[in-house]
């Protein structure tokens, strides 16, 4: 399996302030990587380093097969980037914007025209191709900026908040587009504050605050932090059965979650029958048994240390 990005102790400081502290990661090609963290965590600085926009203070990186610091021009030619601000030329038309950038990425004039048309059509902007971008809505500008990042068919794409500020329909279009890019074999490095979106899209999640706190698949992060478990919807008041469940030897923890019981278990597959049998024996009526799900938001907040105790099970 080839590696799209490999960093070793990559760091960046601005004076006495450390923005990125010793980042080490290895991203397989063809994954969607969610890079999560609070504002000011150093995510944009990380992206800028990996896209060869700014130099690291120390450490090394191989990006799209090129060594950072010695092959920066090649890195820029091999990656696409959607920056935090779309940065489009308002006085130029959508097509002019795309063709200009396509040519900067060394596409021939004919290929630039072809790619501009392809992506304008793909993203539903073909009808507005000759309109000045200054009159575009936020969603249209974002889609155009995404198109700009993809014109030269880069194997690695950095998307900084691709659906920020978009209406639900436009956000869904962007998500579907990212899924298509993954299906095409591209590596997507995604920074987002939209945790449900990251949960939907990402194969790997990295939670970052100046340094990498955790890197794993969403499922393994959930298991590592919260364990596995079962959600039981019971007839009547669930609180009645809370102590019964807690008394069972194989139950790590049990808590009310709305009108249900959330139970943490080592092995739900083996222990669910014992759990349900114990409740039935105690007189409970079981309406539904579901896997206990934790949202990515809970994972994120747990890792960043906010509301740690309450987030442990819910």
């Amino acid at each position: 399996m080839s590696i799209a990005i490999e960093t070793t102790a990559l760091s960046r400081s601005f004076g006495s302030r450390t923005a990125v502290d010793s980042l080490t990661l290895s991203l397989p090609a063809g994954t969607v990587f969610g890079f999560l963290g609070p504002n000011g965590a150093g995510k944009t600085t990380t992206v800028r380093m990996l896209a060869a926009l700014i130099a690291p203070t120390s450490g090394e990186a191989i990006v799209a097969g090129h060594r950072l610091g010695t092959a920066d021009h090649a890195i820029r030619a091999s990656v696409g980037i959607l920056t935090e601000n779309p940065g489009l030329y308002d006085k130029l038309s959508a097509r002019q914007n795309l063709i200009f950038f396509a040519r900067l990425y060394d596409l021939t004039a004919a290929r630039a025209e072809e790619q501009a048309e392809r992506y304008l059509r793909l993203l539903g902007l073909w009808q507005r191709r000759d309109d000045p971008v200054g009159g575009f809505s936020k969603g249209m500008r974002q889609k155009l900026a995404i198109a700009r990042a993809l014109l030269h068919e880069p194997p690695l794409v950095f998307l900084d908040e691709p659906s920020a500020g978009l209406d639900p329909e436009a956000a869904r279009t962007v998500r579907e587009f990212v899924k298509q890019l993954r299906a095409d074999g591209r590596t997507i490095f995604l920074t987002t504050h939209n945790l449900p979106e990251a949960d939907q899209l990402c194969d790997l999640i990295g939670v970052f605050r100046t340094r990498l706190l955790q890197l794993d698949t969403p499922a393994r992060l959930r298991t590592a932090l919260f364990g596995r478990g079962t959600l039981l919807r019971l007839a009547g008041e669930p609180a009645r059965w809370l102590e019964t469940v807690r008394a069972l030897p194989f139950v790590h923890a049990a808590k009310l979650r709305g009108d249900a019981l959330a139970v943490t278990l080592d092995d739900p597959d083996q222990q669910n029958p014992l759990l349900t049998a114990a409740l039935v024996a105690a007189g409970a009526g079981i309406r539904y048994v579901e896997p206990l799900e934790h949202s990515l938001e809970q994972v994120y907040l747990q890792l960043l240390g906010d509301n740690g105790a309450e987030a442990s099970l819910l």
Binding site: F14, R48, A51, L53, I54, A55, H73, A74, R76, A77, V79, I81, T83, N85, P86, G87, L88, Y89, D90, K91, L92, Q96, F100, F101, R103, L104, Y105, D106, P132, A145, R148
Partner: protein, 261 residues
Amino acid sequence: MNKVLLILHKEWLELRQERALLFGMLLPPLLFTLLPVLIVYAAGTAPDEDTRALGAALADPALAGLTSLELGQAIVGRQFALLLLMTPLIVPSIIASYSVVGEKTRRTLEPLLAAPVRVRELLFGKCLAALLPTLIVTWVGALLFAAGMALVTVSDRALAAIITPGWITAVLLCTPPIALLMIAACVAISSRVNDPRSAQQIAAVAVVPFMALFFGQLVGVVVLSPAFALGMAVVLAALAALGLWVAVGLFQRETILTRWS
């Protein structure tokens, strides 16, 4: 070179959509061309013996022997001829401040810097985008000025006293370095300001040395001979080279992204 031309083309596409900028670029040279024609014509209709006492008249032997009408036109015409050299001060500051500060305020620099284009190509493209219109506007303006003088001067002697070899040398050789110096100044200023108009206003300080030349000629301290014009061009070229060296230092990817306020 290809990417330089791409950037130049993009700058042109943007510039031609900015009517206010185009107007601002063309108005000063238009004024510097049309207004002198009217005033030199007027000077040719009303002789003034006091003109002979002016420093400018006394300092240049080439003006000796001219009639009062001819001398009046020559003095006025020469001062306006010098004003034309303000064109390469004004025009590039308008274009370059829009081009550089404008990209900064519109947040279009980062995607541009993320592309595989070398910073020197980017800067060179922007410099050309400011330099070429300046050269065209200045030299066409100078031609129109000369043509206008030919129409309104009372004699060939008066015309020769205005359209002098020194002035021609100054227009041809000093215009490019003046323009480049202004462009370099705008790039340097752009790193600190967030409004193209602020950049233009700060760059307007460059008028001060020009005004020294203007009044120097009027009082007779300066005579714009070919040697003087050549000397000016050499000094300006050296300053432009220094200015561009500073500008290149400020216009670096990392500096723009991390330090431009």
